[in-house]
Symmetry: C2
Subunit: 396 residues, 2 copies
Amino acid sequence: METIKTYVKRRIEKFQTALKEADIPGALLAKPEDVFYLSNFNPVLNSHPVYLLIQPEEEPCLLVHCLRYNHAREESVTDNIRCYAKWGDAPSMAPTADEAIEKLLIPRKFRRFAFEMDYVSVNFHRGICKRLGIEESIDVTPLLNPLKIIKDPWEIDCIRGAAALVDRGVERTIEALDQGLSEAEACTEGQYSMRKLWSSKYSDREVSGFGTSEGGMIDSLFAWSLTNEHIAYGTDCPRKIVPESGDISLSMAWASLGGYHAENERSLQVGILIETRENAYEAMLAARKSIFDRLKPGVIFEDLYAAAIEEFKSRGFEDIIPGRVGHGVGLSAHEFPSVAPGNKLALEKNMIFTVEPGIMDLKWGGARHSDTVLITDDGYESLTQLPNGKISIKAG
Amino acid sequence: METIKTYVKRRIEKFQTALKEADIPGALLAKPEDVFYLSNFNPVLNSHPVYLLIQPEEEPCLLVHCLRYNHAREESVTDNIRCYAKWGDAPSMAPTADEAIEKLLIPRKFRRFAFEMDYVSVNFHRGICKRLGIEESIDVTPLLNPLKIIKDPWEIDCIRGAAALVDRGVERTIEALDQGLSEAEACTEGQYSMRKLWSSKYSDREVSGFGTSEGGMIDSLFAWSLTNEHIAYGTDCPRKIVPESGDISLSMAWASLGGYHAENERSLQVGILIETRENAYEAMLAARKSIFDRLKPGVIFEDLYAAAIEEFKSRGFEDIIPGRVGHGVGLSAHEFPSVAPGNKLALEKNMIFTVEPGIMDLKWGGARHSDTVLITDDGYESLTQLPNGKISIKAG
C-alpha cells in the first residue's frame, strides 16, 4: 500500500478535475470531514475552525488558527499553511478567520465560488460573499459525494481495523451482559476492550473524531445497549438496566480508526422470548438474508430496501417498516448514501455501507443486526465478522 | 433541588421574555445544544435533525424525525411534539423536515423571525425564508448567550458531577503514566476509570454528547495526554509514547454529565526538567495564582487575562503568550465567553469557566493546569479538586 499522503494527493487531483469540469474556479471547504479528506489534517477540536481553499490548478491552501499551526504542519499533505488570530509565535496573516479568508481570496477575484452550502452558516457565507463580491455560490457537496462513496485502499484498510474494534466491543458487551452486568456497566467493559485492542495493536492510527464548533471528540470508540422499549429510541445513553429473561436487547458499537468508521449491532434474546419478539427476530434475519443474497456490483440500492421490506411485510410487520435498511460509512458514522427508497444508485466495487434491516416498536422492543460490508468485484465481504444468526444470553 | 423539567420551563420563560423584549415573534432553534437547553431532549445522534419552535406566548413545539418520536416523548419538557419523514408507526406531518417546518410556520405569517445565524446552513435558511416569505432574519444567539452563561442549580449539580469524573480520569491517567504505560495505554485506563465511576455512581444521568449532522457522541468521557513538542498541538489523539526522564507531559480529561461539561488538565514533570521547562512550569503556576487571587463577582474577564499574561511576560515568555487563559463550559466543552482580551464582561455568581493560563512551544513543549471553577457570592469554588501545584512522576 502507498502512503496516506499519496492517496490524499490523488483525491485532491480528482476533486480539482471535478471543479474544472464544472467550471468552478475555487472552493472553500470548512466541514471537518471534508477538510480532512483532502488535507489529512484533523484538528480534533474545531472551536477554532480549519478551512481548505482548493482551486483547479494551484496547490491547496490550509488556513488554521495559530493554535493549530504546529499540529497542521505535521499532518497536512499541503505545505501551504496559513494562520489567523494570535497564539504563541505562529505567523499570523490576520486577526480573524474572516479577514484571513478575505486576504487569500481578494487577489483571485472570484465571481463564481463553491462552498458546502448544507454546512456553512448563513453569517459566515453572507460575510464572505459581501466582502468579496461573490455573485454565484455553488454547492460543492454534489461534487464531493461521488468521490467519497468509493473507498481507496487506505480507507478500506482503516475501516477494516475499525471493524475489528467494533467486533471486539460488541462481543465484550454481550459477554458482560451475559454475566449479569447492567447496560451501563457492560458498555463500559465493551469500550474498555476496544480501547485496549486499539492501544495494543492500532495506536499508530488515531481514534479521534471530528469536532463541532464548540468541542471535539478525542476518542470515537463507543459501545451502547438498549433493551426492550428503549430499542425504539434508535440511540440513547446506556442505563442502569440489567436485562432479564424474556427481554430483547440490542448491543452496538461504533469506532473510527484513522478517521474511518465501522459499526456493528447485535440483537440478543435473553432467556425465552414472547412470540412477537421471536417473530420480529426471525423477520429481521430473513430481511438480512434477502439483502445479502443480492449484494454485488450493479444492484440498485433501493432494490435492496424493497427486498428487505417485502420480508417484513409478509411476516406481519407492515405497520412498522423502517425508513432505510443501511447507510454509507466513512469519515462519518452516517455517510451518503442511504439504502432507502428513491436511491437509484447502483452498487460499485469498493463502496462500504451498513446492512441493518430492523423493526422496532415502543410496546415490545425491536430487532436489528448491523454489519459493515465492502462491495467486491463480484459480491461483498463483511468487514464485521461476529456470528450473525440468533444470539442468546441467559437471564441476568 | 427542583426537577429538571421545572428548570427547563424557567429557561423557556426567560427566553420567551427576551424574544418579546426584542419584538421577535418566533425563533426556530436547530443547534443540538440549544434545543436541549430549552427542551431537555438530546437525540444523541443528529443525522436526522431536531428543531424547536419558540414563540413568546405559545407552548414550544419540538419537531423530530419519526425515528426520534418515542425518545423525545420521554425526555422532552414540551408535550407538543410533531414528526417528519416516515419510520415505523410514528405520526408524520410531512415527508421532509423542510415541508414540516413550512406547515408549522405558514399559518403564523412571520415576517421577522429568528435563527441561529452562526449555525444554520445557507441551504436550510434560504429554503425556509423563500417558501415562507420571511423578510428579516434575526440572530438569536445574542439573546441565548446571556441566559446560558449563568448556571442554575441543576446545571451546577451536573457540572459538579462531571468535575468528579474528570478528576478521577486525570488522576488515573497520571498514575498509569507513572507506572510506565504509554500515553495511549494510560488514557485508556483514565477513560475506563471515569466510566466505572459513572456507571457505579452517576448512571442516572447521561454521558452522551451532542451529535453532528452525520453522527453522534454516545459517550463524552475523554482522557488524553500530550508530551513535549506535542503539547504545542493543543489537542491530539494520544500516542504510543512513554514519557521519559526530562520530559514534560500534559494529562487532560473532559466529561459531560447530564449534558454539562467539566475539564481538568495537569502538567507533569518527569524526573528532572531542563531549565526552560522548569521556568515555564513556575511561570504557569504564578499566572494561575494571579487569576485565582482575583476571582470574584465584579472583576472583568479581560483583567484576569492581563494579570496572567503579566506573569508570563515578566518571566521571559513574552514571545509565546496564549490567546486566552480560560473559556466558559456548559453544554459545550468550549462555551461563551473566553477569558481573553476584549472581553469586558464582569464575573457574576454562578458563572462557570476554566482557568488555564498556559504556554507552549514546539521546541520544548509547554505547561498548563486547567480547573473548572464556579463563581460564588464573594469568590469562587474550584469544582475540580486535584492537587494543583507541581506534579512529578518518575521516568517511565
